[in-house]
Subunit: 315 residues, 2 copies
Amino acid sequence: MEIYVVSDIGGTQIRVESYDAGSLNPINQKKIPTQAKGQLPVDRLIKLIQEIKENHTIKAIAVAAPGFLDPDLGIVYEAPNIPGWENYPLRKILEDVFNIPIFLGNDANLAALGEWKFGAGIGHSNLLYLTISTGIGSGAILNNNLLLGHKGLAGEFGHVTVLPGGPMCGCGKQGHIEAIASGTGILNYVNEQISAGRTTILRKLEKITGKDVSQAAKDGDGLAIEAYNRAGYYLGIALANFLHMLNPSIVIFGGGVSSSGELLFEPMRKSLEERLISPAYLDGLSFTMAQLGDDVGLKGALALLVTKMTSNLLV
Amino acid sequence: MEIYVVSDIGGTQIRVESYDAGSLNPINQKKIPTQAKGQLPVDRLIKLIQEIKENHTIKAIAVAAPGFLDPDLGIVYEAPNIPGWENYPLRKILEDVFNIPIFLGNDANLAALGEWKFGAGIGHSNLLYLTISTGIGSGAILNNNLLLGHKGLAGEFGHVTVLPGGPMCGCGKQGHIEAIASGTGILNYVNEQISAGRTTILRKLEKITGKDVSQAAKDGDGLAIEAYNRAGYYLGIALANFLHMLNPSIVIFGGGVSSSGELLFEPMRKSLEERLISPAYLDGLSFTMAQLGDDVGLKGALALLVTKMTSNLLV
């Protein structure tokens, strides 16, 4: 049988899945740790693809990878959690092994594409996807095209400045929405306030997790509620920016912090509504949760692959 | 001869231009004040189109209009400087008179389209256009598509928050880049500082204009230079946001404030470079001045018309 193989490579895990290239029905899925002593991540990826191939013929492969990459050139500029992936010609390496079409995309961009083609965003031509967990991953579909920009670096919505001079972001710059509204941003704020002497039920914990803050907020803890209000307030500012710029018909939220629900979304909506230059931006706009869960990278890679193999119009 | 007619409607002037529908060579251009006693602006527009028609046959009309509008529905939601244009079915009115295809677009979006098709942006697939004058008008081309969004309200880059709680914007909200870096924003800052007792050569003037501030800055006036530095600093923050989100290959600047040149652009570039999460966003990126001058709205409307009449792929 002719199959498609897709992979989602993260700092922790490499996942691969095979699909019938005709029906697009899934055949098999496998995952392994990304890193192992004495083996390069790319060799582990190649071996896993060869395993999942079985006796089938691979027609094309698509890979979702983290960090900065140029999908046209097939080069990963920088993948913070994968040792050695700097200006790394991932596509060329895979092409040399498999000798078939290889497609590459940033994992968050492909997640947006996956939700658009197979998930919460089906039928929407203008979609914004935000996954809020340790950091903020993001991507957009505009006029049924994946937003990539000149070098494929577009869609970094987490690195929009909402508070000049504000907290340090994971990227090394200050005041980005990721530095405030991500799980890391929320935890940093709570820890800073505790260091500054604030009263909170969280103080008794040795190491505070996002779940602790969420539970404390539900239990009425003032600091925990304030941390969510602050995250939601700035998220509303960022979202107003995004709506003014892109006017999507759907915003899809994924990630652990989004699952805190109204703790985050209520202050977000309030701040958003206060800042919109016209209520028309809310006409026909849905806010919804992501549907594809852990498979979003694989489904996104499949969406890329199908699009590339069947049409030149999109992506 | 079959002709195209385009119009650019502003609060002050209505301009129309006719083109040979085959060669796209311009035939004639006329302009009149938008408002006159006892006449509706739309009646003045219709009369002007009928005049410029002469003995030709109009094949299609495209109109660039200010304010919020839905190009698909052909409705102007709100055009602040044109009395009576609220939820105004402009396309339907023109269709009923002329009985030919009528296309409608926001003037700033069409300006971006005009520069892309006929001006400084030829050959670029991902373009950002910012015209900085009294306000900030803007539009973008992404993957060779005009950025419109779900209801045609996208592209409002001037209403991105760069300073929460900052100065009041013309739109009634606070802290937008337009409120700081537009001509109005710069003048407001200078006037505030003068009221607060700051020393400046501008103090002796009865009413300060943008040209006065620009000249004073060139003459070494501390407050005037500071006003440009401040505008440039926040423009750099906004621009970093735009590059992270859209990764364009060209940014085109129009408008009177942009013609202040390095007074604005030097602090802008410094602030931008400090904030980019990767220098890769500057790879292959040009900053350039708009080329179409006062004709940009007309050329943008022509670009819309040609695109609509010859293809379904774009816009």
